[in-house]
């Protein structure tokens, strides 16, 4: 009897310990290690704040964070503005039986490999790529435009991905909206435009905020898209982090930069936390 109660108490912990242990060992502990590393000097010696103060005093490093924030803000705004009308058309204008197919098609390129997706945009935007050939071929421009290796290319690559992601989330939001709200607005004499502005848009705003926050987090931490499409003309934070490891093997500085990047995301989260309450039905 005694052993039965013992095993009764041991079983739940036996179930949850492996997952907790894994998280502690390979997520929390690495984070602690990174924290320690960020406080040491690259060439050995004791604790130092040098890695952090270097970030705040070196304008080149500081600029990378500014670039990252600018690109992320531009990408988030453009993606929401492009995706909302598209999701609305899919949810309201496309006949019910075609909606699933239309949505699946709209997010199909989502499933191309992430490295390949950026490469594909390089094919489109390159000096002698599809767009430049079309522009020079049609006689609109005599010289090819510099499209690849610019901020424009990075933003295009990002927007392409996040329009698909936001279309999914906003579409789900519009579909969850009970039709009775719209009927009520119509009964009270509101036209379609007023109904949209005063009823549909405010009710879908929390969903948009969640999608926009997701865009922010995924965008600011991404290395591939700016590296392939933006080149090294202007550095974003993840490129700066990777550069410390790649060229110089400077783990302490890379750790400090990673922690700063994470702090920025945390601050953004706290700033939007009250709009991000994911309500459960």
């Amino acid at each position: 009897m005694n052993s039965a109660t013992n095993s009764g108490r041991a079983l739940p912990w036996a179930l949850v310990t492996p997952a907790l242990g894994w998280t502690l060992l390979f997520f929390v502990l690495p984070f602690v290690a990174m924290g320690f590393s960020s406080l040491t000097a690259h060439d050995g010696g004791g604790f130092t704040r040098a890695n952090y103060s270097q970030f705040f005093t070196n304008p080149a490093y500081w600029q990378a964070l500014v670039n990252s924030l600018q690109v992320t803000a531009i990408v988030t705004v453009i993606s929401v503005l492009l995706a909302y009308p598209f999701a609305w058309i899919l949810a309201e204008q496309v006949p019910e039986r075609w909606q699933r197919l239309a949505l699946m098609l709209a997010v199909l390129p989502f499933w191309t490999s992430y490295v390949v997706r950026s490469y594909s945009w390089l094919l489109v935007l390159a000096q002698n790529g599809v767009i430049n050939r079309a522009l020079t071929g049609s006689g609109l421009f005599s010289e090819p435009l510099q499209l690849a290796n610019t901020r424009l290319a990075t933003v295009t690559g990002f927007v392409h991905f996040f329009v698909m992601l936001l279309t999914l989330t906003i579409f789900a939001n519009l579909k969850q909206l009970s039709p009775s709200y719209r009927k009520a607005a119509a009964d009270l004499g509101a036209g379609p435009v007023r109904t949209f502005l005063h009823v549909v848009l405010p009710l879908t705003l929390p969903g948009i905020m969640v999608g926009a926050f997701l865009t922010f987090v995924l965008c600011i931490g991404d290395y591939i898209t700016p590296q392939i499409l933006g080149g090294n003309n202007e550095l974003l934070m993840p490129q700066l982090v990777m550069m410390q490891i790649g060229r110089r093997g400077d783990f302490p500085l890379a750790s400090a930069l990673s922690i700063i990047l994470m702090a920025v995301v945390t601050i953004a989260y706290l700033a939007c936390a009250r709009w991000l309450k994911i309500e459960r039905a």
């Binding site: 502690l24 390949v116 990673s258 990047l261």
Partner: protein, 260 residues
């Protein structure tokens, strides 16, 4: 007015579809290029670059590595996720909310930072870079996902069936294997499938934690150093095809499960 809205809607939808599909169409079209540059004019169709991909042992072994890492790390993530979800759903544990929060915490941190942390830790501990190290990283990113999916699907309904089985004298392991796992199969499958696709496509953790034997996204990245190359188009198109097959398969499984 209504007709105008329809026309504008159509034009807008076509423009967005065009934007979404432009890079994919260019990718696949120029993978069939007969000459050495994937730029206009189109000179194909030719399958020579697909032959080149299949003859490249670095790419084919990277593909096998990717599948192995994806399958094994997803199996580990879904097992750990399922056991912990079951434990938290069935028993009232002290500090449950806090511990559940800890397990889902990695979802909020970008892959780059998770990879960096593991790199620093493994570097200090003297663990060499390897596919195993990358697989450990993939379990870190997929475990919270599997846990969240399975935990959210565990309801009273399934607890009651388990209780019935236990009352009828089934030992704990029998309840687990014969009742809980089959009842939770859709959530377990969804977690496993999502983990597979994330691991299959993951770049930065594999890039940081592997050296010679590596995964397909890292090998494709290495190919990019040679600039625009139809071979990259071909391997990209193949990866796309595999993903589409997986997604369609998943959709069909979901549709079949829906009660008629």
């Amino acid at each position: 007015m209504r007709a105008l809205v329809r026309i504008v809607s159509w034009l807008y939808a076509v423009a967005i579809y065009g934007f979404i599909f432009l890079p994919v169409v260019v990718l696949v079209l120029f993978s069939l290029q007969a000459t050495s540059f994937p730029i206009p004019p189109f000179t194909g169709p030719s399958l020579r670059w697909y032959d080149a991909v299949l003859a490249d042992t670095r790419l084919t072994s990277a593909l096998v590595n990717s599948l192995l890492v994806a399958a094994l790390s997803s199996a580990a993530a879904v097992t750990l996720g399922f056991l912990s979800a079951w434990g938290f759903a069935r028993f009232a544990l002290p500090g449950s909310a806090l511990l559940r929060g800890l397990i889902t915490l990695p979802l909020t941190v970008s892959y780059l930072i998770i990879g960096m942390g593991l790199l620093v830790l493994f570097n200090w501990a003297g663990v060499p870079k390897s596919l195993l190290a990358a697989g450990i990283g993939h379990v870190v990113i997929n475990l919270p996902l599997c846990f969240a999916i399975i935990y959210s699907q565990m309801g009273d309904h399934q607890i009651n069936i388990e209780r019935a089985a236990r009352d009828l004298g089934a030992p704990e392991w029998k309840v687990l294997l014969l009742i809980t796992v089959p009842v939770m199969a859709p959530a377990i499958f969804a977690g496993f499938f999502l983990s597979m696709t994330f691991s299959w496509d993951e770049f930065v953790i594999s890039f940081l934690l592997t050296r010679f034997d590596t995964t397909l996204p890292v090998e494709i990245w290495n190919l990019l150093r040679s600039g625009l190359n139809p071979k990259t188009n071909a391997v990209g198109s193949l990866v796309f095809a595999v993903s589409i097959v997986l997604v369609v398969f998943f959709e069909l499984m979901l549709l079949r499960r829906k009660p008629a």
